[in-house]
């Protein structure tokens, strides 16, 4: 069982969307549509909504927490976020959404081997809790 670190606890299932490069939500994600809009990102045009968003780390703007909270409010957010490097600004957006709306998405960190093993498009379930992050086919 791959171990990792819990940033925001929770559980979700969906199709993995594995990003090849880090993403700044601000300037990179349209919270009205859930679409990746960063012109520098190789996966521009992908839609994150209801996906298990798997990305190495966040990047750039400190407004990314606001954009994630807004996407959770608007229902365009991913179902969960799995990172290789802990990112406070990503976690913050999910924590604030829980305070405001009583709902949020899990955010976890996986070690590099487990992270690299996730296949884009695979149906996975992610359980983030007690500093154990489990990824695998829905059971």
């Amino acid at each position: 069982m791959p171990e990792g670190r819990t940033l925001v606890a929770g559980r979700a299932a969906g199709l993995a969307l594995v990003l090849a490069e880090p993403l700044s939500f601000w300037g990179g994600l349209d919270p009205e549509t859930g679409e990746l809009i960063d012109t520098h990102h190789p996966q521009r045009g992908a839609v994150v909504t209801d996906r298990i968003l798997v990305m190495p780390s966040g990047r750039g703007s400190s407004s990314s927490s606001y954009i994630l909270a807004e996407a959770i409010r608007a229902g365009t957010a991913p179902a969960a976020i799995v990172l290789r490097e802990a990112d406070g600004i990503v976690a913050l957006g999910a924590i604030v959404a829980r305070e405001l709306y009583g709902t949020t998405i899990p955010v976890g960190v996986l070690d590099a081997d487990a992270f690299d093993a996730i296949a884009d498009g695979a149906l996975v379930e992610v359980i983030v809790g007690d500093d154990v992050v489990t990824m695998g086919p829905p059971g």
Partner: protein, 421 residues
Amino acid sequence: MAVELSPRDREMLDGRHGEAVGLAMRILIDMARVWQADRLIDVTSAHVDSCLYHGQAGLDFVEKLLAGQAHVAVPTTLNVSSLDLLHPELIRLDADTASRARRLMDAYVAMGCRPTWTCAPYQLDSRPAFGEHVAWAESNAIVFANSVLGARTNRYGDFIDICAAITGRVPDAGLHLDEHRRGRIVFRLSDDVSDRLLHDEVTPTCIGHIVGKESGTDVPVIVGLPLETGEDRLKALGAAAASSGAVAMFHAVGITPEAPTLEDALGGDGAAREIVVTLDRLRAARDELTTIEGGPISAVSVGTPHMSVDELDLLATSVGRHPPTVPFYANTGRDVSAGAGALTVLADAGVTIVTDTCTYITPILHDVGGPVMTNSAKWAWYAPANLGFDVVFGSMEECVRSASLGRVWRDPDLWGEASDA
């Protein structure tokens, strides 16, 4: 890891200082766990980015704070908004969005934040001293505070900035701690970079872009910048690195306060990696920040981050020699512009001064369209997605000459390559 709370932290968490303070403490403690901090520490000031409107969530948050009697506990400055309150005629936002943006701004002022509306709080007289712990948001301000001032701030994002401001507390983690401020990756300027290029403002900006792309979460150390490299150039470097990457601190050996020597910057540890920055790599950075080959431009925008008094003076001299024939926008802070003698000269030359906001985050250029030329890596990085325009990155002199000609002008002496203009 458990977070150890002081008696006063516990009072705040329990709601004895009001509901807003309780909410702020819950978020700070959650974030202390995320950052693996074992306690909270005091900050002396805050810089809040949450005042820029990106949707209903920001209003919901601030209205909850206001309903809970929130008021800042430490001096707090405000980042740019989506409105220019001094030049409202420039903004093409729809009335509904403008009114929501204004509600958000007013709410932060009502909590006692200072209406500075600038992304360059380090240009204000209130900036922190070496070693002070602060809670700053806005990626370029964070990197400047840590790197150039030697103040200590973690990479704070929207919402936690105001939580820190109303409690005066932050998790003791990340760049507040010595061990995370040590350099890990060295960028060494190559001998093939000409003296002319080395001493132009475009070089620190291009280095910042490269540093951001290559550093990941490591603190970068730059070796080989001229020792007289000033704050405005370090500002441009940091802003570039915090756009193309997640850099929150850099060292420039012999220049920034925690890096008198390479050994000091590395803190006794060796560097994990070393990258040589060649002329070719600098040219590539320029080209990565440029979406078209050349040709006509519709406008020029400079001042991302906001221009300093010195930069406004230099621009005034430059446009005096080469007046623009296309719209030319200069972004700056209201406090800086109030003390800048160059404003009349700039206005006479046809330069439009934008304050309180920035041309890449709100509709100012929409009647003009693209392509737009800029000397800012941050502007060049974000504008294509935010505005949908083509962008050309160049030195300030290239921007001014291009604005005068109405088409892209490249300085062949600067880049050491034949001009096709």
